[in-house]
Amino acid sequence: MTSPRPTYRQSVALVWRTLRSMRTALILLLMLALASVAGSLIPQLPNSPGAVRQFLADHALLGRFYLRAGLFDVFGSWWFVLITTLLFVSLVACLVPRTRGSIRAIRQRPVQARELDAFPSFRELAVGPPPEAAAEAARRVLRRRGFRVAREGTSVAADKGLLREVGSLAFHWAFILLLAGVIVGKGTGYAGLAVLYEGETWIDAQANYDGQVRTGRFFGGDFSGLRLTLVDYADTFRTTGQPMDFRSTVEVADLQGRPLGTEVIRVNHPYRRGDLRVFQFGFGWAATAEVARGGEVIAGSDPIELDQDPAPEGVSQLAMPWRGTIKLPGFEPQMAVDLQLWPDGRALLALIDDPSAPPSAMLQEFQPIARYRVWQGPLSDLSTHTLDTRFLESVPGASGLIGGGESHDLLEGATGVPASWPADLTIRFADLREYSVLQVTRDRGVPVVLLAAILILVGLLPALYSSRRKLWVHAAPGERGTTLKVGGFALQRRERFDEEFERVVADLVRACGSRDAEPVRSR
């Protein structure tokens, strides 16, 4: 016999029931953990794009599979979003009825019970006062112990520990709040890097960012327009080369140019203005190397920001020179001057002495020295950061070392100089200063996320440590005065409840004021 096809309603109900079950939630939680494991073991594009490129180069086939499966960006992949969404749907499906039940339980007064001797904890006492007075005394005792109490004549019902469920609900709902904070914050926010050399003014606008600006899906393009002028950048290092402090002193002005004061931005001490935060992110050297023709500067009048290549295995990053390029696209063939800078000239000498020895604290400006080299050929781009030498040829002999403030004949002693190039070219190492890399971020969700985190923590404590317990007291005329029956149970932490029960009984005995009150029957 085949079972009848389930109706649409039944299918929906089945899916809903499955989603609500703790088993589903558990499995989804473990799947989330598993996905995160993958995300930590495989290099991730947002965190380390270089490692991803390396991986793709080393393992072509596996890399292609990873790329397809979204394993290079696990936390942004459709399946990670799916697991998270399902988990949240399951959470809501579970929370809605629980919240309703909890509200009902809070509204409802404790319900009377009939037979008390069936409860795990039970005691029968003989006390002096008449039943009505004994019940009232019991009510007061339980009230004082923090129970919610309802008395109907000679019957008292009490419960305690509703906070457990309330805490648990707050803990779980807080995740919805957390998600909302994350979505709103990341969705309407943006983040990018601003590179400023000392003396430069930078305005918060899309075009002024270095590289890509990460903008949220719902970001309306409303950059703040804040103006930052880097007055000074300072870093301090220990003699080992270990950094101690990086600080950018910045003059801030608003969109209209009204000054907002001078701020110091350091690691761990970002500058805040409204939702906008500016962080100290990095630093580097900016050199001005002017190329002049007959005394007239034709290129390199502005400082160019130099970068370091990643150090090869076994070489300290500190030993790497700073690189940049001046490009002269107006010449035929086009010209590029490649620069390598050592802010401390002694570092270069040490490097020539022993290429493998790491420099010690040669990171500050001291007799800076730059090595230049002239190239000819078609330029791939006009960036000062990169030099694509695939189509270029170096001009033999057109290279040299140049100290701060010095001036050289660029093509002196060179051979094979294109005839179309002017001969009276000079290069002058005019200026060296530092640049600072600031991370600019707007995340409006941060306060919401923080609130959610606090709720998670505050809710967790009663959810784990509080316990739900119920107690009843019945007073009735007995053979000797009044018989008081006390019964109750706890849903959690039962050993602790046993002790509490004893204390309640002792309190009852004391409250009923009769010294001869004694347990008649206990189980």
Partner: protein, 308 residues
Amino acid sequence: MSVTEWTRVANAAFDVALFSLIGAMVAGFAYLAFRHGALSALSRAAGMLGAAACLVAIVGRGLAAGRTPWGNMYEYSLVMGFLVVVGHLVLVEGRAKVRTVAGFSYAFAVLTLAMATLFFDVGPAPLVPALNSYWRQIHVTAMITASSLLGLGCVITMLYLVKERWEARELARLHAQDPPPIMGGSTADEPAAADPSTLPRRGGLPAAATLDRLAYRFIAFGFPVWTFGVICGAIWAQDAWGRYWGWDPKETWSFITWVIFAGYLHARATSGWRGARAAAIALVGFVSLLVTYYAVNLWIAGLHSYST
């Protein structure tokens, strides 16, 4: 005293701590095997000496480095070893009055200290600027405390699984036996012996139910502390790195560990998952804890790689 002198004091105290804890561990196991009261007392005394020596090593290290001594893996491991011992002495022996698991707790502490001296032994040194924040004290203290508590909980969970297996086997054996004739041979009732509490003791481990409850308490204590530590880390990351969460390997693994222990706590409240199944989740959590603690620093590059 000078930096080198404090370093020497700290190193000497570390050695004392390691050897006293090894002694405490051996005495603890011996007590489990022979149930001689003096062995337990010896184990406890050696444990206290070990804890005191750890404390001296921590303080000495802090004075040598001129900062709170939790700035690298060596120091974390030292503090964690200390907290494991204190946790055992105060919570397991003090509060829960369980004395037979001492050998295992001390073994955990000894392994932690041995890891520190074998793999992470670096001299006291100043910190990079990003670590220079008061959040470091709060975040790191919370994480180490939580790791110690969760770690102890998981060690006890392992013992629970062993004991539970044994109890189940023993019950099955007793059920299989012919019930002894009782007053005329009525066999209608369950044999009285088929109750875990009346089973003969094996090596003196507490009943599985006791171990289970104890393990749960440790994890239920450690979990909110872990949560707090992760939240503090996020607050700190917001200031130091410009985002409260960035799926850095250490962040990811602390999240994985959190999720697994959250799963454990939920499993204990779910019928059909209690007992051995929940315990298995806790053990997965333990592995994840160790990965979070050790592997991320040793093998996975990220923003938390501060000690290699």
